[in-house]
Amino acid sequence: MALHFELVTPAKLVRSEDVHMVVVPGGEGEFGVLEGHAPVMSTIRDGALTVYKTENGTPEEIQIRGGFAEVGDNGLTVLAEHVES
């Protein structure tokens, strides 16, 4: 039970790992992505991407700005313009 999560910015591939769940700040509201999520393509608004590595673990927040999120067969790909680390 793992979701493959990739966070990419123009400068580099920030993350590429297997996680439990990611909450994405979508253009029309936040949505959580678990493994086996139906294919979705969404714009994202500026905000925090919340990554749950394990089911009960503490979430990790990554601030992102501008971009897209795509859920496909190979997991979740977030294309962001800026990532604040």
């Binding site: 123009p10 400068a11 580099k12 591939l13 139906a38 393509m41 969404s42 790909t77 294309l79 313009e81």
Partner: protein
């Protein structure tokens, strides 16, 4: 025959030139590694974006497609976006890019199209101005930033899209060198506006949900795609500049070394000749007594 003093001066001058070229070569080698890493790190984003574009462009077509994808319906006015370096000392890189741009412009003009230039980087301005003085529209200066990056690409893309929306041109091509290795940088031309529809647009997974909807996503995606292309071009030119510079400076250093050797031999010979002449004079003088 040059005098000893002159020769010595020339040797010293070539030596100091060699020091400069050697320093520049080492700087370029160090910067090349960084620029190459940056260019490689940017590839995942560009390829993912192209994938997303491919799956979307197939779905939105026909009359409701945005202008950036569908074009203006005419192909009369072409804009050539030429990306050059800001600094010299990089061998034939800039002249190769300018040559490519010139060939394109001539081709388009031969086909009866109007051509204008949008120049990025300092070094392309003079040679293009020589041939197409009245065709240069605007230029973008990257010389005051250390490493042109995403912000600069953003500015250029915004300027281009604004020009496109004002109807200043119909088709834009981007001309930049593709970094192959330190020895080879191929100038390439690529259409960026209207955004070319990817060939593998045929899509199997039909049940993708879109939020808000296809058109709106595409509208946000297209400018970003143009921006990414420009960003790639800026990174490629940075890597190419350092690569070309390294090769050119390596050659220059070697050349200077050869020149120094040659001049040293000449210097030694003339010194020897001068000594021999002096000796003969002394001996002849002693014999005459």
């Amino acid at each position: 025959m040059a005098s000893l003093k002159e020769l010595k001066g020339r040797i010293n001058s070539v030596k100091s030139t060699q020091k400069i070229t050697k320093a520049k070569q080492m700087v370029a080698a160090a910067k090349l590694r960084k620029a190459q890493a940056a260019a490689e790190a940017a590839r995942p984003y560009a390829s993912r974006l192209t994938d997303v574009m491919a799956s979307l462009a197939g779905k939105v077509s026909g009359d409701d497609a945005p202008k950036l994808l569908a074009g203006t319906g005419s192909d009369q006015r072409h804009l050539l976006v030429v990306v050059n370096t800001d600094k010299g000392l990089c061998g034939g890189l800039n002249s190769n890019i300018v040559k490519e741009a010139r060939t394109r412009a001539r081709e388009l003009e031969a086909a009866g199209k109007d051509v204008t230039f949008y120049l990025v980087g300092k070094k392309g301005r003079a040679p293009i101005k020589r041939d197409f003085a009245d065709k240069i529209g605007e230029s973008y200066d990257t010389s005051d930033v250390r490493d042109p990056g995403y912000n600069e690409a953003d500015d250029i893309a915004k300027a281009l899209i604004a020009m496109y929306e004002d109807g200043k041109f119909d088709i834009a091509h981007l001309i930049y060198p593709q970094f192959k290795s330190a020895l080879a940088q191929d100038p390439t031309t690529q259409q960026i506006v209207p955004v070319p529809t990817p060939e593998n647009a045929a899509d199997s997974e039909a049940c993708v949900e879109y939020e808000p909807d296809e058109e709106e996503i595409l509208e946000a995606l297209l400018p970003r795609y143009v921006k990414t292309q420009l960003f790639t071009a800026l990174l490629e030119i940075a890597a190419s500049e350092q690569g070309a510079s390294m090769t050119a400076m390596d050659n220059a250093t070697r050349n200077a070394g050869e020149l120094i050797d040659k001049l040293t031999i000449q210097y030694n010979r003339s010194r020897q000749a001068a000594i021999t002449t002096e000796l003969i004079e002394i001996i002849a003088g002693a014999e005459a007594l």
